[in-house]
């Protein structure tokens, strides 16, 4: 495997280079694979599993996370089908039920990737899952930043950004299993070297890492996901392939 090669996502030919993940190749081709923990510019984590796709033949298909799985020549990938999206909806619902999400009073509403993902995946029916209702302390110790991990989806973006981009290590995971959560490198955020300008403070997909002194600044209608479904920027890259996009409602 040295030169560029082709594989298929939902029957569409996609070009890839060795070392690219399925998701990277899809992004370049203007095909959106839903994701929550993965974000451009940060190491892949493979934790949310929302990007799960099926590779290989229909029956013998194997599920993998598109954000970590290398693309391979001739691979057949199943992405945007009812079966895959149903499973994704389950995962998104799990994340909603693991935390406390009251969108109408949340500063992130309209700019939130979890909320936007629920919208894209048509999470409209009543869910069957129980609520876990965590009760974690709000950390408002820092002059510029507040941290409300009751909305955390454990995506780890803040951890990777602080470690790899800011070279600081302000955030980290503690605990195991359902008790695993994001914590800070000190008694509280004020006792860390966190700064508002850190990349880590700008990557949270949900409303956990909150900038103090500003709130609800963007009017409804002008918020990020008021402009289109999550993923529309990536899908926009496939300018010539409008037919496929119109297939979606």
């Amino acid at each position: 495997m040295n030169g560029p090669f082709q594989f298929r996502i939902d029957g569409v030919e996609v070009a890839a280079t060795p070392g690219q993940t399925i998701m990277e190749a899809a992004d370049a081709a203007g095909i959106y694979i839903p994701r929550l923990c993965d974000v451009e510019g940060l190491r892949h984590q493979g934790g949310c599993r929302v990007c799960t796709v099926k590779v290989g033949g229909k029956a013998a298909g194997r599920s993998v996370s598109a954000c970590t799985q290398p693309a391979e020549p001739g691979l057949e990938v199943e992405n945007d089908t009812e079966a895959r999206n149903r499973v994704r909806r389950d995962l998104v619902e799990m994340l909603f039920h693991e935390g406390n999400h009251l969108c109408p009073i949340c500063e992130k509403s309209g700019n939130c990737e979890l909320q936007a993902m629920a919208c894209r995946l048509d999470m409209t029916a009543a869910t069957r899952f129980p609520y876990l209702e965590p009760c974690r302390d709000l950390d408002a110790s820092h002059p510029d930043i507040a941290l409300d991990t009751n909305r955390c989806i454990s995506c780890g973006r803040c951890i990777r950004a602080s470690q790899d981009v800011d070279a600081k290590g302000v955030f980290g995971y503690v605990g195991r299993g359902i008790h695993r959560r994001v914590a800070v490198n000190g008694a509280d955020l004020a006792h860390t070297d966190a700064a508002l300008a850190d990349h880590a403070m700008s990557v949270c997909p949900v409303g956990c890492i909150i900038r103090k002194g500003e709130g609800f600044a963007t009017p409804i209608g002008a918020r990020h996901f008021d402009h289109g479904l999550i993923g529309h920027e990536i899908e926009g890259r496939a300018g010539e392939d409008l037919a496929r996009k119109d297939g979606r409602k």
Partner: protein
């Protein structure tokens, strides 16, 4: 919880010395934290700061490790920590009475530490002693076949100030490490086979291997048909070939002695009786793949075997069987089932929380510290040594077409002869159960919680890779047992042991457990059966590692093989109201705020 810090904290020099004794190497974080836990009985924020500074990582990175493992504690523990095994087999063997006896004698409840920091009482999942349950870890030794009387006597001895070893083993100070192990734990070898538990000559396999080219060793292992005994059943020879062919100047051989699958205890017996055979197999593997360094990852629950294994390694070094060409260190675990998964095991050896690694790359190409690494089960390595001695054809001829050789089965639960059976692959479950004195089994958990629960109609199925596969566990339940209690327990095990890295396993298993609770309370309706299946499918499909991919199996296999257990407990919901909805608890918060009772819903309003 007891009140804070009566423990005196010695100066930080002690912590720094511990860290220095591991070369201030952050890859040895787990060893450092275990040593600190031993010295201080707790890992406090200030010690985490000291360790972080000494090894050059952030304090949150230290806390990430310290908070991951069950045997490390951020709150002070007692001088003696008693960890009672709360596996389902122990529960069915009189655990409650043992708990009550310890609580009464020590004056604390489970989960508590006494005010004088003398004792802590905790539960822990399967400690690999199901054949002599109920059992407990007491500091670094174990107590088996507990009864209320025995628990009281042990607690009294400990209260008199005896160490755990003194309280459990007479003359423990004059016994050899091996004798101490034998005094603590029975082997219960019920059926020695011709490969492992029968007589074995010393280093005969290694001598044969020494005369062979590395590639010829791999050929022999592949030709024998040996497949991994840790559960997944990957062909051992092929795994070694991948590692041997991966370009690198450094390679590793790791023995997986995490043996965490509830109901499995055969590696315990191999490590007790055939430790040298395991080291021999590791040495052969090292020669085959070109490794100079080996690690034996020993689960924290088997710390009582540590001295015995160290003595075995020392004896091998003295004989020249280990040394400059290849040596083995023991990495202690600290209470985390997930560390049996090979990626998580490698993470743990690297001083990280026991989280599985992203695959690909696989350990054979990028494993420990990024180098090609072979991870095999204890039993697998022991088999290798015998194959090199007796030849691939000999081994290949034992067993069936696709499952070659013998297998160690750990049989426990409702049977008269629990213990370890070494038998050729291919016998039926019925044959094994009759050897074990379990003819009246109503349900059998083959392969532990991540295996399959079968009923009487499956007794003629064969124990092979392609029929009823098992890493070794065979847990027998008689008709007296409640299937849903078993399933509920196994789900609580997976909830406790999920590493939390990925959504479906971290969250989904909690939901699955809650759904089973609903059935047990008689609050389920027919829709809940579909719900169990849908949720299980999502968890299996999307989980990141084998734990999540198998965690719904207790639910799915009991649904399939014992459907009546579920349907008997479902009833249609009345008036469309969910049976789980409890109006009294739903309004209690509002009632508190309003400081008055509800006109409509409070039953006692008339009073």
């Amino acid at each position: 919880m007891t009140t804070e810090t009566k423990v005196a904290y010695p100066p930080d020099a002690e912590i720094m010395a511990i860290s220095a004794s591991f070369g201030n190497d952050h890859h040895r974080m787990l060893d450092i934290l275990l040593a600190v836990q031993e010295a201080r009985r707790c890992i406090s924020p200030s010690t985490m700061d000291t360790i972080a500074a000494a090894v050059g990582v952030t304090r949150i990175a230290v806390e990430g490790v310290a908070s991951f493992y069950s045997f490390l504690s951020l709150a002070p523990k007692g001088r003696v920590t008693i960890r009672l095994c709360d596996d389902i087999v122990d529960r069915f063997s009189g655990l409650d009475a043992v708990v009550a006896a310890f609580e009464a004698e020590l004056g604390i409840k489970m989960g508590e530490t006494s005010a004088d920091h003398g004792f802590s009482l905790d539960f822990t999942p399967c400690i690999g002693l199901c054949d002599q349950a109920p059992a407990a870890m007491i500091n670094d030794v174990v107590a088996t076949r507990l009864t209320a009387e025995r628990a009281t006597a042990i607690a009294r001895a400990l209260k008199r100030g005896l160490s755990a070893a003194e309280a459990l083993v007479a003359d423990h100070d004059v016994l050899s490490p091996y004798q101490r192990v034998r005094a603590l734990v029975e082997n219960n070898i019920r059926r020695p086979g011709e490969v492992l538990l029968g007589p074995v000559p010393e280093d005969a396999g290694l001598h044969a291997a020494a005369a062979m080219a590395p590639s010829a060793i791999i050929d022999a292992v592949e030709a024998s048909g040996l497949r991994g005994c840790g559960g997944a059943g990957f062909t051992t020879g092929r795994k070694w070939r991948f590692a041997a062919n991966a370009p690198s100047d450094r390679r590793f051989v790791i023995c997986n002695a995490d043996e965490g699958e509830p109901g499995t205890f055969k590696d315990r017996v191999v490590l007790t009786e055939r430790a040298d055979l395991v080291f021999e197999g590791m040495t052969i593997a090292a020669r085959a793949v070109g490794a100079r360094e080996g690690i034996l990852y020993l689960r924290g629950e088997y710390v009582y075997l540590h001295e015995h294994l160290q003595a075995g390694l020392a004896a091998r070094r003295a004989r020249g069987g280990l040394g400059a060409d290849f040596d083995i260190r023991i990495q202690m675990g600290a209470g985390a089932y997930i560390c049996g998964e090979e990626g998580a095991l490698i993470s743990s050896c690297e001083g990280l929380p026991g989280e599985p690694k992203t695959r690909p790359p696989f350990p054979v190409t990028r494993g420990y510290l990024g180098h090609p690494t072979v991870v095999n089960n204890v039993e697998t390595f022991a088999h290798v040594a015998r194959i090199l001695d007796r030849g691939a054809a000999w081994f290949n001829a034992i067993g069936t077409d696709k499952s070659h050789g013998t297998k160690l089965f750990s049989v426990s639960g409702d049977c008269t002869r629990p213990g370890v059976y070494e038998l050729p692959y291919g016998l039926t479950l019925r044959e094994l159960l009759s050897l074990a004195g379990a003819e009246d089994a109503a349900a059998v958990q083959v392969g532990g919680p991540s295996g399959t629960m079968v009923g009487r109609d499956s007794l003629d199925r064969r124990l092979t890779f392609d029929d009823l596969a098992t890493g070794g566990a065979v847990i027998v339940f008689s008709a007296r047992r409640n299937i849903l209690e078993i399933v509920d327990y196994y789900m609580s095990f997976f909830v406790h042991e999920s590493c939390g890295y990925c959504t479906p396993c971290r969250v989904g298993n909690v939901f699955l457990k809650k759904a089973i609770e609903k059935f047990r309370k008689g609050q389920a309706n027919d829709d809940d059966i579909a719900y169990l299946k849908d949720l299980s499918a999502t968890i299996i499909e999307t989980s990141r590692c084998g734990l999540g991919m198998t965690s719904p199996k207790p639910v799915l296999s009991s649904l399939k093989n014992f459907p009546l257990v579920y349907s008997a407990l479902t009833k249609p919901s009345k008036d469309g109201i969910k049976a789980t909805f409890d109006i009294q608890s739903a309004i209690s918060g509002a009632r508190d705020i309003a400081k008055r009772r509800s006109y409509i819903f409070d039953k006692d309003f008339s009073k």
